[in-house]
Protein backbone atom coordinates (compact mmCIF):
# COMPACT_ATOMS: atom_id res chain seq x y z
CA UNK A 1 0.00 0.00 0.00
CA UNK A 2 1.49 3.32 -0.97
CA UNK A 3 0.28 6.91 -1.00
CA UNK A 4 0.94 9.14 -4.00
CA UNK A 5 0.70 12.91 -3.62
CA UNK A 6 -0.81 14.67 -6.60
CA UNK A 7 0.54 18.22 -6.75
CA UNK A 8 -0.39 21.27 -8.80
CA UNK A 9 2.02 22.20 -11.57
CA UNK A 10 0.64 25.72 -11.75
CA UNK A 11 -0.45 28.73 -9.71
CA UNK A 12 -4.21 29.20 -10.04
CA UNK A 13 -7.48 28.18 -8.44
CA UNK A 14 -9.68 25.09 -8.22
CA UNK A 15 -12.57 25.30 -10.70
CA UNK A 16 -14.27 21.91 -10.44
CA UNK A 17 -13.64 18.71 -8.50
CA UNK A 18 -14.70 15.76 -10.66
CA UNK A 19 -14.23 12.85 -8.22
CA UNK A 20 -14.96 11.98 -4.61
CA UNK A 21 -12.91 10.36 -1.87
CA UNK A 22 -13.14 6.59 -2.21
CA UNK A 23 -13.50 6.64 -6.01
CA UNK A 24 -11.34 4.26 -8.00
CA UNK A 25 -8.98 6.08 -10.36
CA UNK A 26 -7.10 4.92 -13.42
CA UNK A 27 -3.97 6.57 -14.84
CA UNK A 28 -5.04 9.66 -16.79
CA UNK A 29 -8.46 10.08 -15.10
CA UNK A 30 -9.32 13.73 -14.47
CA UNK A 31 -9.61 14.25 -10.71
CA UNK A 32 -10.22 17.98 -10.79
CA UNK A 33 -9.89 20.97 -13.08
CA UNK A 34 -7.85 24.00 -12.11
CA UNK A 35 -8.09 27.40 -13.68
CA UNK A 36 -4.86 29.19 -14.47
CA UNK A 37 -4.15 31.94 -17.00
CA UNK A 38 -7.81 31.71 -18.13
CA UNK A 39 -7.27 28.08 -19.10
CA UNK A 40 -8.85 24.94 -17.70
CA UNK A 41 -6.04 22.68 -16.54
CA UNK A 42 -7.09 19.08 -15.84
CA UNK A 43 -5.34 17.35 -12.94
CA UNK A 44 -4.90 13.76 -14.02
CA UNK A 45 -4.20 10.71 -11.88
CA UNK A 46 -0.53 9.74 -12.23
CA UNK A 47 -1.17 6.26 -10.79
CA UNK A 48 -4.00 3.75 -10.43
CA UNK A 49 -5.70 3.38 -7.04
CA UNK A 50 -8.30 4.91 -4.76
CA UNK A 51 -8.74 8.62 -4.17
CA UNK A 52 -7.77 8.78 -0.50
CA UNK A 53 -7.94 12.46 0.35
CA UNK A 54 -8.99 15.72 -1.27
CA UNK A 55 -7.04 18.61 0.18
CA UNK A 56 -8.74 21.42 -1.77
CA UNK A 57 -12.26 22.50 -2.75
CA UNK A 58 -13.66 24.67 -5.56
CA UNK A 59 -12.46 28.28 -5.59
CA UNK A 60 -9.43 27.53 -3.38
CA UNK A 61 -6.23 29.18 -4.54
CA UNK A 62 -3.39 26.77 -5.27
CA UNK A 63 0.35 27.22 -5.61
CA UNK A 64 2.91 25.38 -7.71
CA UNK A 65 3.84 22.07 -6.04
CA UNK A 66 0.90 22.27 -3.60
CA UNK A 67 -0.53 18.82 -2.88
CA UNK A 68 -4.13 18.71 -4.14
CA UNK A 69 -5.08 15.15 -3.30
CA UNK A 70 -3.64 11.75 -2.48
CA UNK A 71 -4.11 8.38 -4.14
CA UNK A 72 -3.75 5.10 -2.28
CA UNK A 73 -2.61 2.16 -4.36
Amino acid sequence: MSITNVASEVIGSVWKVEMSVGDTVKVGDTIMILESMKMEIPVEAPVEGTLAELKVKPEDSVDEDQVLCTIES
Binding site: E9, V10, M37, M39, E40
Partner: protein
Protein backbone atom coordinates in the same frame (compact mmCIF):
# COMPACT_ATOMS: atom_id res chain seq x y z
CA UNK B 1 46.76 -3.57 -12.47
CA UNK B 2 49.31 -6.28 -12.95
CA UNK B 3 52.97 -6.22 -11.98
CA UNK B 4 55.86 -7.22 -14.11
CA UNK B 5 59.59 -7.13 -14.39
CA UNK B 6 60.70 -4.90 -17.17
CA UNK B 7 63.62 -2.62 -17.68
CA UNK B 8 62.83 -0.24 -20.48
CA UNK B 9 66.20 1.52 -20.43
CA UNK B 10 68.06 -1.75 -20.66
CA UNK B 11 65.84 -3.04 -23.44
CA UNK B 12 66.76 -0.15 -25.71
CA UNK B 13 70.46 -0.87 -25.25
CA UNK B 14 70.17 -4.54 -26.19
CA UNK B 15 70.58 -5.93 -29.70
CA UNK B 16 67.85 -4.99 -32.17
CA UNK B 17 65.93 -8.25 -32.23
CA UNK B 18 65.64 -8.50 -28.46
CA UNK B 19 64.98 -4.81 -28.16
CA UNK B 20 62.18 -5.04 -30.72
CA UNK B 21 60.32 -7.79 -28.96
CA UNK B 22 60.98 -6.27 -25.56
CA UNK B 23 59.70 -2.89 -26.66
CA UNK B 24 56.60 -4.48 -28.17
CA UNK B 25 56.16 -6.33 -24.92
CA UNK B 26 56.39 -3.10 -22.97
CA UNK B 27 53.84 -1.42 -25.27
CA UNK B 28 51.54 -4.39 -24.78
CA UNK B 29 52.00 -4.30 -21.01
CA UNK B 30 51.31 -0.59 -20.81
CA UNK B 31 48.23 -0.91 -23.03
CA UNK B 32 46.86 -3.76 -20.92
CA UNK B 33 47.45 -1.66 -17.79
CA UNK B 34 45.43 1.17 -19.34
CA UNK B 35 42.53 -1.17 -20.10
CA UNK B 36 42.54 -2.38 -16.50
CA UNK B 37 41.76 1.16 -15.33
CA UNK B 38 41.71 1.47 -11.51
CA UNK B 39 41.68 -2.30 -10.99
CA UNK B 40 39.02 -4.95 -10.45
CA UNK B 41 37.98 -3.71 -7.01
CA UNK B 42 37.45 -0.11 -8.10
CA UNK B 43 35.54 -1.27 -11.18
CA UNK B 44 33.30 -3.41 -9.00
CA UNK B 45 32.58 -0.38 -6.79
CA UNK B 46 31.73 1.69 -9.86
CA UNK B 47 29.27 -0.98 -11.01
CA UNK B 48 27.82 -1.36 -7.50
CA UNK B 49 27.03 2.38 -7.61
CA UNK B 50 24.95 1.78 -10.73
CA UNK B 51 27.56 3.29 -13.04
CA UNK B 52 29.47 2.05 -16.07
CA UNK B 53 33.23 2.47 -16.40
CA UNK B 54 34.45 5.14 -18.78
CA UNK B 55 35.49 2.51 -21.33
CA UNK B 56 32.10 0.77 -21.12
CA UNK B 57 30.49 4.16 -21.74
CA UNK B 58 32.62 4.68 -24.85
CA UNK B 59 31.56 1.25 -26.18
CA UNK B 60 27.91 2.00 -25.45
CA UNK B 61 27.95 5.37 -27.19
CA UNK B 62 30.24 4.96 -30.17
CA UNK B 63 30.04 2.85 -33.33
CA UNK B 64 31.55 -0.64 -32.96
CA UNK B 65 35.37 -0.74 -33.20
CA UNK B 66 35.58 2.95 -34.01
CA UNK B 67 37.46 4.19 -30.92
CA UNK B 68 41.00 5.34 -31.70
CA UNK B 69 42.56 6.17 -28.36
CA UNK B 70 45.03 8.99 -27.76
CA UNK B 71 47.11 9.07 -24.61
CA UNK B 72 46.64 5.39 -23.81
CA UNK B 73 49.98 5.31 -22.03
CA UNK B 74 49.47 8.47 -19.99
CA UNK B 75 49.68 7.65 -16.31
CA UNK B 76 52.04 7.15 -13.44
CA UNK B 77 54.71 4.46 -13.80
CA UNK B 78 56.20 2.85 -10.74
CA UNK B 79 59.80 1.65 -11.06
CA UNK B 80 61.96 -0.44 -8.74
CA UNK B 81 65.44 0.51 -7.50
CA UNK B 82 66.93 -0.76 -10.79
CA UNK B 83 64.59 1.47 -12.78
CA UNK B 84 62.52 -1.52 -13.80
CA UNK B 85 58.88 -0.80 -14.49
CA UNK B 86 56.72 -2.48 -11.89
CA UNK B 87 53.27 -1.15 -12.61
CA UNK B 88 51.42 1.69 -14.33
CA UNK B 89 48.42 3.49 -12.90
CA UNK B 90 46.63 4.97 -15.91
CA UNK B 91 45.68 8.63 -16.05
CA UNK B 92 42.16 9.23 -14.69
CA UNK B 93 40.98 10.42 -18.11
CA UNK B 94 40.40 8.42 -21.31
CA UNK B 95 40.24 10.18 -24.66
CA UNK B 96 40.40 9.78 -28.40
CA UNK B 97 38.52 9.83 -31.67
CA UNK B 98 35.50 7.66 -32.41
CA UNK B 99 32.45 7.55 -34.64
CA UNK B 100 28.86 8.22 -33.63
CA UNK B 101 26.14 7.59 -36.25
CA UNK B 102 29.05 6.98 -38.68
CA UNK B 103 30.60 10.42 -38.17
CA UNK B 104 33.81 11.24 -36.29
CA UNK B 105 33.76 12.89 -32.86
CA UNK B 106 36.36 13.80 -30.27
CA UNK B 107 35.46 12.00 -27.06
CA UNK B 108 36.85 12.03 -23.55
CA UNK B 109 35.83 11.17 -20.04
CA UNK B 110 37.12 10.97 -16.50
CA UNK B 111 37.91 7.50 -15.20
CA UNK B 112 36.36 7.50 -11.73
CA UNK B 113 38.02 4.18 -10.90
CA UNK B 114 41.40 5.94 -10.91
CA UNK B 115 41.68 8.41 -8.03
CA UNK B 116 38.02 9.38 -8.39
CA UNK B 117 38.64 10.97 -11.78
CA UNK B 118 40.56 13.88 -10.26
CA UNK B 119 42.66 16.20 -12.39
CA UNK B 120 45.88 14.56 -13.57
CA UNK B 121 49.08 16.57 -13.61
CA UNK B 122 50.90 15.78 -16.88
CA UNK B 123 53.05 17.59 -19.43
CA UNK B 124 49.90 18.14 -21.50
CA UNK B 125 46.35 17.79 -20.30
CA UNK B 126 44.46 14.95 -21.97
CA UNK B 127 41.04 16.25 -21.10
CA UNK B 128 39.38 18.96 -19.14
CA UNK B 129 39.35 22.58 -20.21
CA UNK B 130 42.20 23.29 -22.62
CA UNK B 131 43.05 19.59 -22.86
CA UNK B 132 44.07 17.64 -25.96
CA UNK B 133 40.53 16.48 -26.60
CA UNK B 134 39.25 20.06 -26.96
CA UNK B 135 42.15 20.76 -29.35
CA UNK B 136 41.21 17.70 -31.41
CA UNK B 137 37.63 18.99 -31.77
CA UNK B 138 38.86 22.50 -32.60
CA UNK B 139 41.55 21.67 -35.18
CA UNK B 140 39.61 18.91 -36.95
CA UNK B 141 36.22 20.68 -36.66
CA UNK B 142 34.43 17.67 -35.20
CA UNK B 143 31.89 17.47 -32.37
CA UNK B 144 33.17 17.11 -28.81
CA UNK B 145 31.64 14.58 -26.41
CA UNK B 146 32.42 15.00 -22.69
CA UNK B 147 31.53 12.07 -20.43
CA UNK B 148 31.85 13.72 -17.05
CA UNK B 149 32.52 11.75 -13.88
CA UNK B 150 34.81 13.81 -11.69
CA UNK B 151 35.07 16.82 -9.44
CA UNK B 152 38.15 18.45 -10.98
CA UNK B 153 41.16 19.63 -9.03
CA UNK B 154 41.78 19.16 -5.33
CA UNK B 155 43.42 21.42 -2.75
CA UNK B 156 46.24 18.90 -2.62
CA UNK B 157 47.56 20.17 -5.96
CA UNK B 158 48.74 23.33 -4.16
CA UNK B 159 51.03 21.17 -2.04
CA UNK B 160 52.48 19.50 -5.14
CA UNK B 161 52.99 22.82 -6.93
CA UNK B 162 54.24 24.75 -3.95
CA UNK B 163 51.82 27.60 -4.57
CA UNK B 164 48.12 28.18 -5.11
CA UNK B 165 47.21 28.71 -8.76
CA UNK B 166 45.18 31.73 -9.80
CA UNK B 167 41.67 30.85 -11.08
CA UNK B 168 41.86 30.11 -14.78
CA UNK B 169 45.28 28.47 -14.86
CA UNK B 170 43.36 25.93 -16.90
CA UNK B 171 40.83 28.36 -18.29
CA UNK B 172 37.74 27.82 -20.39
CA UNK B 173 38.98 29.76 -23.44
CA UNK B 174 38.92 26.74 -25.75
CA UNK B 175 35.64 25.43 -24.28
CA UNK B 176 34.04 28.80 -25.00
CA UNK B 177 35.53 29.01 -28.49
CA UNK B 178 34.18 25.54 -29.35
CA UNK B 179 30.61 26.67 -28.65
CA UNK B 180 30.76 28.77 -31.83
CA UNK B 181 32.48 26.09 -33.92
CA UNK B 182 31.34 22.50 -33.32
CA UNK B 183 28.57 20.72 -31.41
CA UNK B 184 29.62 20.12 -27.80
CA UNK B 185 27.67 17.59 -25.77
CA UNK B 186 28.15 16.51 -22.17
CA UNK B 187 26.78 13.70 -20.07
CA UNK B 188 27.11 14.08 -16.30
CA UNK B 189 27.54 10.50 -15.15
CA UNK B 190 28.76 10.91 -11.59
CA UNK B 191 29.03 13.71 -9.09
CA UNK B 192 30.32 16.80 -10.87
CA UNK B 193 31.67 19.96 -9.32
CA UNK B 194 34.48 22.33 -10.26
CA UNK B 195 35.95 22.29 -13.77
CA UNK B 196 34.02 19.24 -15.03
CA UNK B 197 30.74 20.84 -13.87
CA UNK B 198 31.74 24.04 -15.65
CA UNK B 199 32.36 22.15 -18.88
CA UNK B 200 28.98 20.43 -18.62
CA UNK B 201 27.41 23.89 -18.74
CA UNK B 202 29.64 25.01 -21.63
CA UNK B 203 27.85 22.55 -23.91
CA UNK B 204 25.15 22.78 -26.52
CA UNK B 205 23.42 19.80 -24.98
CA UNK B 206 23.81 18.18 -21.57
CA UNK B 207 22.18 15.19 -19.94
CA UNK B 208 22.41 13.54 -16.52
CA UNK B 209 21.10 10.34 -14.96
CA UNK B 210 18.32 10.40 -12.36
CA UNK B 211 19.51 8.91 -9.08
CA UNK B 212 23.16 8.30 -9.95
CA UNK B 213 24.49 11.69 -10.97
CA UNK B 214 24.62 15.12 -9.39
CA UNK B 215 26.00 18.49 -10.36
CA UNK B 216 26.53 21.67 -8.32
CA UNK B 217 28.75 24.67 -7.87
CA UNK B 218 29.75 23.24 -4.50
CA UNK B 219 28.86 20.01 -2.74
CA UNK B 220 27.34 19.24 0.67
CA UNK B 221 30.54 19.67 2.76
CA UNK B 222 31.02 23.20 1.41
CA UNK B 223 27.35 24.03 2.01
CA UNK B 224 27.66 22.77 5.58
CA UNK B 225 30.78 24.84 6.18
CA UNK B 226 29.44 27.99 4.51
CA UNK B 227 25.79 28.02 5.53
CA UNK B 228 25.62 25.52 8.36
CA UNK B 229 22.99 23.54 6.48
CA UNK B 230 22.88 19.78 6.11
CA UNK B 231 21.76 18.66 2.68
CA UNK B 232 22.46 15.46 0.80
CA UNK B 233 24.01 15.54 -2.64
CA UNK B 234 20.96 14.16 -4.45
CA UNK B 235 18.71 16.91 -3.10
CA UNK B 236 21.36 19.55 -3.73
CA UNK B 237 22.32 18.57 -7.25
CA UNK B 238 20.30 15.58 -8.46
CA UNK B 239 18.15 15.78 -11.61
CA UNK B 240 15.10 17.06 -9.69
CA UNK B 241 17.07 20.19 -8.84
CA UNK B 242 19.52 20.55 -11.73
CA UNK B 243 17.20 19.55 -14.59
CA UNK B 244 13.54 19.92 -13.55
CA UNK B 245 13.81 22.98 -11.34
CA UNK B 246 16.89 24.90 -12.43
CA UNK B 247 17.53 23.94 -16.04
CA UNK B 248 21.25 23.79 -15.26
CA UNK B 249 21.39 20.56 -17.27
CA UNK B 250 19.08 20.14 -20.26
CA UNK B 251 17.73 16.61 -19.97
CA UNK B 252 17.52 13.75 -17.49
CA UNK B 253 17.71 10.05 -18.36
CA UNK B 254 16.71 7.02 -16.32
CA UNK B 255 19.93 5.13 -17.05
CA UNK B 256 23.42 5.76 -18.39
CA UNK B 257 22.48 3.86 -21.55
CA UNK B 258 19.54 6.21 -22.12
CA UNK B 259 21.72 9.27 -21.46
CA UNK B 260 24.22 8.10 -24.08
CA UNK B 261 21.38 7.36 -26.50
CA UNK B 262 20.14 10.93 -26.03
CA UNK B 263 23.62 12.16 -27.05
CA UNK B 264 23.45 10.02 -30.19
CA UNK B 265 20.02 11.41 -31.00
CA UNK B 266 21.06 15.02 -30.42
CA UNK B 267 24.13 14.67 -32.64
CA UNK B 268 22.05 13.12 -35.44
CA UNK B 269 20.47 16.57 -36.07
CA UNK B 270 23.74 18.51 -35.89
CA UNK B 271 26.23 19.32 -38.63
CA UNK B 272 29.84 18.37 -37.83
CA UNK B 273 30.67 22.07 -37.47
CA UNK B 274 29.29 25.52 -38.30
CA UNK B 275 30.86 25.46 -41.77
CA UNK B 276 28.71 22.47 -42.82
CA UNK B 277 25.00 21.91 -43.40
CA UNK B 278 22.97 19.83 -40.93
CA UNK B 279 22.67 16.21 -42.11
CA UNK B 280 19.66 15.35 -44.26
CA UNK B 281 18.36 11.78 -43.90
CA UNK B 282 16.19 9.82 -46.36
CA UNK B 283 12.49 10.25 -45.53
CA UNK B 284 9.70 7.87 -46.47
CA UNK B 285 6.97 9.98 -44.86
CA UNK B 286 5.25 11.74 -47.82
CA UNK B 287 5.79 15.51 -47.90
CA UNK B 288 2.21 15.96 -49.12
CA UNK B 289 0.70 14.03 -46.18
CA UNK B 290 -2.41 15.97 -45.08
CA UNK B 291 -3.86 15.31 -41.64
CA UNK B 292 -7.59 15.84 -41.21
CA UNK B 293 -7.12 15.37 -37.45
CA UNK B 294 -5.39 18.75 -37.28
CA UNK B 295 -8.67 20.49 -38.18
CA UNK B 296 -10.20 19.41 -34.85
CA UNK B 297 -7.20 19.44 -32.57
CA UNK B 298 -7.86 22.94 -31.18
CA UNK B 299 -11.00 22.86 -28.98
CA UNK B 300 -13.72 25.35 -29.86
CA UNK B 301 -13.91 26.46 -26.26
CA UNK B 302 -11.08 28.94 -25.85
CA UNK B 303 -10.44 27.94 -22.24
CA UNK B 304 -9.67 24.31 -23.08
CA UNK B 305 -6.12 23.19 -23.72
CA UNK B 306 -5.01 20.52 -26.21
CA UNK B 307 -1.88 18.46 -26.75
CA UNK B 308 0.75 20.49 -28.59
CA UNK B 309 2.96 17.38 -28.52
CA UNK B 310 0.31 15.48 -30.53
CA UNK B 311 0.10 18.40 -32.96
CA UNK B 312 3.87 18.40 -33.52
CA UNK B 313 3.89 14.63 -34.08
CA UNK B 314 1.15 14.91 -36.70
CA UNK B 315 3.15 17.47 -38.68
CA UNK B 316 6.83 16.46 -38.62
CA UNK B 317 8.40 13.35 -40.21
CA UNK B 318 7.21 10.16 -38.53
CA UNK B 319 9.92 8.79 -36.27
CA UNK B 320 11.89 10.30 -33.44
CA UNK B 321 11.41 13.88 -32.27
CA UNK B 322 14.06 14.97 -29.80
CA UNK B 323 12.73 17.25 -27.07
CA UNK B 324 15.26 19.40 -25.24
CA UNK B 325 14.46 20.39 -21.63
CA UNK B 326 11.10 18.57 -21.47
CA UNK B 327 10.84 19.05 -17.70
CA UNK B 328 11.89 22.69 -17.32
CA UNK B 329 10.20 25.85 -18.59
CA UNK B 330 7.26 23.68 -19.57
CA UNK B 331 5.11 26.43 -21.03
CA UNK B 332 7.21 26.14 -24.19
CA UNK B 333 8.27 22.98 -26.04
CA UNK B 334 11.64 23.00 -27.82
CA UNK B 335 12.28 19.99 -30.05
CA UNK B 336 14.57 18.93 -32.84
CA UNK B 337 12.61 17.20 -35.58
CA UNK B 338 12.72 16.68 -39.35
CA UNK B 339 10.63 17.82 -42.28
CA UNK B 340 11.30 15.72 -45.39
CA UNK B 341 14.51 14.55 -43.73
CA UNK B 342 15.84 18.07 -43.06
CA UNK B 343 16.52 19.03 -39.43
CA UNK B 344 14.27 21.77 -38.02
CA UNK B 345 13.96 23.36 -34.61
CA UNK B 346 10.40 23.46 -33.29
CA UNK B 347 9.45 26.13 -30.74
CA UNK B 348 5.87 25.49 -29.65
CA UNK B 349 3.91 27.00 -26.78
CA UNK B 350 2.26 24.47 -24.51
CA UNK B 351 -1.35 25.43 -23.67
CA UNK B 352 -1.44 22.76 -20.94
CA UNK B 353 1.06 24.69 -18.87
CA UNK B 354 0.18 28.25 -17.87
CA UNK B 355 -1.77 28.48 -21.10
CA UNK B 356 1.58 28.67 -22.90
CA UNK B 357 2.50 31.99 -21.24
CA UNK B 358 6.19 32.86 -21.32
CA UNK B 359 7.80 32.89 -17.87
CA UNK B 360 11.45 33.37 -16.99
CA UNK B 361 12.40 29.71 -17.35
CA UNK B 362 10.55 29.19 -20.64
CA UNK B 363 12.13 32.41 -21.96
CA UNK B 364 15.60 31.07 -21.03
CA UNK B 365 14.78 27.78 -22.67
CA UNK B 366 13.49 29.37 -25.88
CA UNK B 367 16.52 31.70 -26.08
CA UNK B 368 19.04 28.87 -25.71
CA UNK B 369 17.23 26.78 -28.28
CA UNK B 370 16.97 29.62 -30.81
CA UNK B 371 20.70 30.30 -30.38
CA UNK B 372 21.50 26.61 -30.83
CA UNK B 373 19.54 26.40 -34.09
CA UNK B 374 20.93 29.71 -35.34
CA UNK B 375 24.52 28.58 -34.66
CA UNK B 376 24.11 25.30 -36.53
CA UNK B 377 21.97 26.61 -39.43
CA UNK B 378 18.85 24.71 -38.44
CA UNK B 379 15.72 26.61 -39.58
CA UNK B 380 13.13 27.36 -36.90
CA UNK B 381 9.40 26.70 -36.95
CA UNK B 382 7.31 28.51 -34.33
CA UNK B 383 3.96 26.89 -33.52
CA UNK B 384 2.38 29.74 -31.66
CA UNK B 385 -0.19 29.68 -28.88
CA UNK B 386 1.04 32.28 -26.43
CA UNK B 387 -1.27 34.53 -24.40
CA UNK B 388 1.66 36.79 -23.42
CA UNK B 389 4.17 36.97 -20.62
CA UNK B 390 3.33 35.13 -17.40
CA UNK B 391 1.65 37.40 -14.85
CA UNK B 392 1.67 37.56 -11.05
CA UNK B 393 4.03 38.25 -8.18
CA UNK B 394 6.19 35.17 -8.66
CA UNK B 395 6.61 35.95 -12.36
CA UNK B 396 7.64 39.56 -11.60
CA UNK B 397 10.08 38.39 -8.91
CA UNK B 398 11.67 36.09 -11.46
CA UNK B 399 12.19 39.01 -13.90
CA UNK B 400 9.82 37.60 -16.50
CA UNK B 401 9.66 40.94 -18.30
CA UNK B 402 13.45 41.16 -18.65
CA UNK B 403 13.89 37.50 -19.65
CA UNK B 404 10.95 37.75 -22.04
CA UNK B 405 12.37 40.85 -23.72
CA UNK B 406 15.66 39.01 -24.07
CA UNK B 407 13.74 36.38 -26.05
CA UNK B 408 12.37 39.18 -28.27
CA UNK B 409 15.92 40.56 -28.67
CA UNK B 410 17.41 37.18 -29.61
CA UNK B 411 14.55 36.36 -32.01
CA UNK B 412 15.21 39.67 -33.76
CA UNK B 413 18.84 38.73 -34.34
CA UNK B 414 18.27 35.30 -35.84
CA UNK B 415 19.85 34.83 -39.24
CA UNK B 416 18.47 31.35 -39.81
CA UNK B 417 15.15 31.21 -41.74
CA UNK B 418 12.14 31.24 -39.42
CA UNK B 419 8.51 30.30 -40.05
CA UNK B 420 5.76 31.50 -37.75
CA UNK B 421 2.51 29.52 -37.69
CA UNK B 422 -0.16 30.76 -35.30
CA UNK B 423 -2.21 27.87 -33.93
CA UNK B 424 -4.38 29.83 -31.51
CA UNK B 425 -3.18 32.81 -29.46
CA UNK B 426 -0.41 35.23 -30.32
CA UNK B 427 -0.42 38.15 -27.94
CA UNK B 428 1.86 40.96 -26.94
CA UNK B 429 5.60 40.99 -26.67
CA UNK B 430 5.78 37.24 -26.03
CA UNK B 431 4.12 36.93 -29.44
CA UNK B 432 6.89 39.07 -30.94
CA UNK B 433 9.44 36.52 -29.72
CA UNK B 434 7.94 34.05 -32.22
CA UNK B 435 8.72 36.15 -35.29
CA UNK B 436 11.76 37.81 -36.82
CA UNK B 437 10.91 41.30 -38.02
CA UNK B 438 14.47 41.68 -39.35
CA UNK B 439 13.77 38.95 -41.86
CA UNK B 440 10.98 38.19 -44.31
CA UNK B 441 8.70 37.75 -41.27
CA UNK B 442 6.35 35.29 -42.92
CA UNK B 443 3.43 34.69 -40.58
CA UNK B 444 1.02 31.87 -41.35
CA UNK B 445 -2.05 31.12 -39.28
CA UNK B 446 -4.70 28.52 -38.79
CA UNK B 447 -8.31 29.82 -38.83
CA UNK B 448 -8.28 29.36 -35.04
CA UNK B 449 -5.63 32.10 -34.76
CA UNK B 450 -6.26 35.21 -32.69
CA UNK B 451 -3.86 38.00 -31.78
CA UNK B 452 -3.39 41.47 -30.50
CA UNK B 453 -1.46 43.57 -28.05
CA UNK B 454 -3.33 41.90 -25.23
CA UNK B 455 -6.35 39.57 -24.99
CA UNK B 456 -9.80 41.18 -25.03
CA UNK B 457 -10.57 39.71 -21.61
CA UNK B 458 -8.72 41.75 -19.04
CA UNK B 459 -7.83 44.27 -21.74
CA UNK B 460 -11.41 45.57 -21.75
CA UNK B 461 -11.49 45.83 -17.96
CA UNK B 462 -8.35 47.98 -18.03
CA UNK B 463 -9.18 50.21 -21.01
CA UNK B 464 -12.87 50.88 -20.20
CA UNK B 465 -12.65 50.94 -16.42
CA UNK B 466 -14.72 54.14 -15.97
CA UNK B 467 -17.28 53.16 -18.62
CA UNK B 468 -17.79 49.79 -16.91
CA UNK B 469 -17.89 51.22 -13.38
CA UNK B 470 -20.47 53.88 -14.30
CA UNK B 471 -22.84 51.48 -16.06
CA UNK B 472 -25.99 50.12 -14.44
CA UNK B 473 -24.66 46.57 -14.53
CA UNK B 474 -20.83 46.59 -14.80
CA UNK B 475 -20.59 42.84 -15.51
CA UNK B 476 -23.06 43.05 -18.40
CA UNK B 477 -21.31 46.16 -19.77
CA UNK B 478 -17.92 44.40 -19.66
CA UNK B 479 -19.34 41.45 -21.62
CA UNK B 480 -20.92 43.83 -24.16
CA UNK B 481 -17.63 45.60 -24.74
CA UNK B 482 -15.78 42.27 -25.04
CA UNK B 483 -18.28 41.03 -27.65
CA UNK B 484 -17.98 44.28 -29.60
CA UNK B 485 -14.20 44.12 -29.75
CA UNK B 486 -14.04 40.40 -30.42
CA UNK B 487 -15.73 40.94 -33.79
CA UNK B 488 -12.57 42.74 -34.94
CA UNK B 489 -10.41 39.83 -33.69
CA UNK B 490 -11.31 37.54 -36.60
CA UNK B 491 -8.06 36.37 -38.22
CA UNK B 492 -9.67 36.81 -41.62
CA UNK B 493 -9.95 40.57 -41.09
CA UNK B 494 -6.20 40.72 -40.41
CA UNK B 495 -5.58 38.60 -43.52
CA UNK B 496 -7.73 41.04 -45.53
CA UNK B 497 -5.29 43.75 -44.47
CA UNK B 498 -2.35 41.43 -45.33
CA UNK B 499 -1.13 41.91 -41.77
CA UNK B 500 -0.87 38.14 -41.52
CA UNK B 501 0.47 36.75 -44.77
CA UNK B 502 -1.61 33.56 -45.17
CA UNK B 503 -4.30 31.58 -43.39
CA UNK B 504 -3.93 27.89 -44.09
CA UNK B 505 -6.11 24.83 -43.73
CA UNK B 506 -4.65 23.02 -40.68
CA UNK B 507 -4.70 19.69 -42.54
CA UNK B 508 -2.19 21.13 -45.05
CA UNK B 509 0.33 22.14 -42.42
CA UNK B 510 2.91 19.47 -43.21
CA UNK B 511 3.03 20.00 -46.99
CA UNK B 512 3.36 23.76 -46.55
CA UNK B 513 6.07 23.58 -43.88
CA UNK B 514 8.02 20.98 -45.87
CA UNK B 515 7.95 23.27 -48.89
CA UNK B 516 9.32 26.27 -47.00
CA UNK B 517 12.00 24.23 -45.22
CA UNK B 518 13.15 22.83 -48.59
CA UNK B 519 13.24 26.39 -49.89
CA UNK B 520 15.39 27.43 -46.92
CA UNK B 521 18.17 25.07 -47.98
CA UNK B 522 19.68 27.32 -50.63
CA UNK B 523 19.70 30.26 -48.30
CA UNK B 524 21.30 28.24 -45.49
CA UNK B 525 24.05 27.03 -47.82
CA UNK B 526 24.82 30.63 -48.69
CA UNK B 527 25.29 31.66 -45.06
CA UNK B 528 27.44 28.92 -43.54
CA UNK B 529 30.12 29.75 -41.01
CA UNK B 530 30.31 31.24 -37.52
CA UNK B 531 27.61 33.65 -36.39
CA UNK B 532 28.35 37.23 -35.43
CA UNK B 533 27.48 38.28 -31.89
CA UNK B 534 26.40 41.86 -31.39
CA UNK B 535 25.23 44.17 -28.69
CA UNK B 536 24.34 43.76 -25.04
CA UNK B 537 21.37 41.53 -24.48
CA UNK B 538 18.83 42.86 -21.98
Amino acid sequence: MHNRELNSEKASADDNETAGSSINEELHFRRVSALEMGGAEAIERQHANGRLTVRERFSELTDADSFREVGTLGGSGEYDENNKLVRVTPAPYVAGMARVNGRPVAIGGEDFTVRGGTTFGAARRKGGQGGFIEDLAHYYKIPLVNLIDGAGGTVTSAKRRGYVAFPGVHGFERSVQLLGEVPVVSAVLGTAAGGPAGRAILSHFSVMVRGTSQIFAAGPPVVKRSLGRDIDKEELGGAATAVDKAGTIHNAADSEEEALDQIRQFLSYMPQNVWEMPPVVPCDDPVDRCEAALRDIVPEKRTQPYSMHDLINLVVDKGPVFEIQPTNGKSVITSLARLDGRPVGIVANNPKFYSGAMDASSAHKQIRFMELCDTFHIPLVFLVDVPGFMVGLKAEQEATLREGMRAVYVAGQLTVPTLTLVIRKCYGMAGMATCNKNDIDLKLSWPSGEWGSLPVEGGVAAAFRRDIANSADPKVREKELEAELRAYASPFRTAEAFAVEEIIDPSETRPILCEYIALAEGRLKASLGPKRKAGVSP
